[in-house]
Symmetry: C2
Subunit: 303 residues, 2 copies
């Protein structure tokens, strides 16, 4: 199956307790595309500035990401700065410079419009809506979002949510969006807003998939000695998840469970270094070895 | 296998967003004994005051808990008061009246000293040490503790930890005790302190078992619409865990995994009402139905 992702490519400045780095390659569509590329062909729609480094394009091209939909505009690339503390579950945003994103309207190349799977990565929900007007009968539309849009663009956000099949969000966002403290009650309300499937990401505590007929699947995070930089973990999770489904060409429940596992595995790699430093060079054996680790971490009883 | 538990019986005053109750039956040994009683015979060592209600003894006796080791002393029963907020992971201690516990020294009846499994429930570590001097060659010694003892009795606490096979604690305590933020690193340090097995309880995020040769097993919590009162969840978890092992008469790795599941199942019931209101009346079918729920929540791939 063919996947289209629409989101951001960015240059991130990251501070962590272990070090910092300026202008490293990031953005929701960037992380997603690299993650998904291990399983299926990805077409990327985003906007970059004239300062977007050639190495970024080369990184994506090496992973066979289709860049025809990557638009270049006069001005600077979107920049984001964040600081992480010892507790990696919390982060401060230091700055957000929209730059070329300010006037961006996603335009899908003709051959992207028939994609089987559409991923609306984290960007302004009004742009996510513009994408939905261009695609033609995808089999699965999934989306991600963030606390900022819940605060400042709630109406648009609810409109997108009502139109997608699958919503990725973290536990804090699920509570913020619904006002419910208990996850199960929050998710019930999210289903009522539209999505048949909801994936709640809980960082170091793993992720839970919720679907129709009380289908539920919880997977723990891979246990790591150090989380170096969690930026992009959620986007990479979505990449592994949807990439795996595209490869299988099926949305059967057992594939959705396996997709949760591959999302978890891919996300674990991205946190071990800045940017996609660790994510880009993976071999199939690396991915399968970590899948086996998760298998051993979760197996019990007789099936 | 025979289990001895040494800990507290208490009268708790609990405030939650859904209501409050005074002098309800509680205490670490009390919750543990009720939980474990579903699987194996339990012998309880604790001290109660002259005001300890007959209903408490009746509740334990109905669950076939051996009360020969329950001592009565002049004075009032241990009392604890706590308040929970919307976020059930945090609680304020309103008061702690040690009362008859102030001069308590556990004395194991002769026929308790040969127990196969000894559980040192949450009490002052110096009392836990006194128990260890009385038992004769148990197959498994497990313990629990709390933040208070890490603060005020660290030396005694480290001495007990160095002598047990299995340590139960929550994630915050693991970090407080080791000064390590990453769970895996904290647990490595806990193993170096003595225990071959460490069980980290993470409340709504489940629990993880760590053992020798990188044996690790993560189980999510049962998904609930409402956590009414989480008091005693950790003790009940330990009860289900050790009770199951006692019933199997084996500490084989696959039984330890299943023990994690039964601990999780029993703990889920106790949180649904004040005290042991929901825990005492369970049928085997109730327990097995919830085990199946966890099975469905966690199954994936081919085993």
């Amino acid at each position: 199956m063919q996947i289209v992702v629409v989101g951001s490519v960015a240059l991130d400045t990251i501070e962590t307790p272990w070090g910092s780095r300026e202008d490293c390659l990031g953005g929701s569509a960037f992380y997603f595309a690299i993650g998904a590329s291990y399983f299926a062909p990805v077409q990327l729609v985003a906007v970059a500035g004239t300062d977007y480094p050639k190495t970024a394009r080369a990184t994506l091209a090496e992973r066979n990401v289709d860049l025809i939909g990557l638009e270049f505009a006069d001005g600077e690339t979107f920049r984001w700065g964040g600081r992480y503390h010892e507790d990696m579950n919390q982060r401060d945003t230091l700055f957000t410079h929209l730059n070329v994103f300010e006037h961006f309207h996603p335009k899908l190349p003709d051959n992207y419009c028939n994609a089987d799977i559409v991923f609306l990565a984290n960007i302004h929900p009004s742009l996510q809506l513009e994408v939905l007007e261009q695609v033609q009968g995808p089999q699965l539309v999934a989306m991600d979002t963030m606390n900022l849009w819940i605060d400042v663009a709630r109406e648009d956000l609810e409109r997108v949510i009502s139109k997608v099949d699958l919503l990725f969000l973290n536990d804090q966002e699920a509570m913020q969006l619904t006002g419910r403290r208990m996850l199960l009650t929050a998710v019930q309300q999210l289903h009522e807003m539209g999505p048949k499937w909801v994936v709640v990401k809980k960082g170091e505590h793993g992720a839970i998939l919720f679907g129709p007929d009380k289908q539920r699947f919880a997977v723990p995070a891979v246990l790591l000695h150090r989380v170096f930089d969690p930026t992009g973990a959620g986007d990479t999770f979505a990449g592994g998840f949807l990439g795996y489904l595209a490869k299988q060409g099926s949305l059967a429940p057992e594939h959705l469970r396996e997709a949760m596992v591959y999302g978890t595995v891919l996300a674990s790699f991205v946190t071990e270094q800045f940017s996609v430093d660790h994510l880009v060079g993976l071999k199939t054996e690396d991915i399968e070895a970590r899948r086996e680790e998760l298998r051993d971490l979760t197996r019990w009883g007789k099936v």
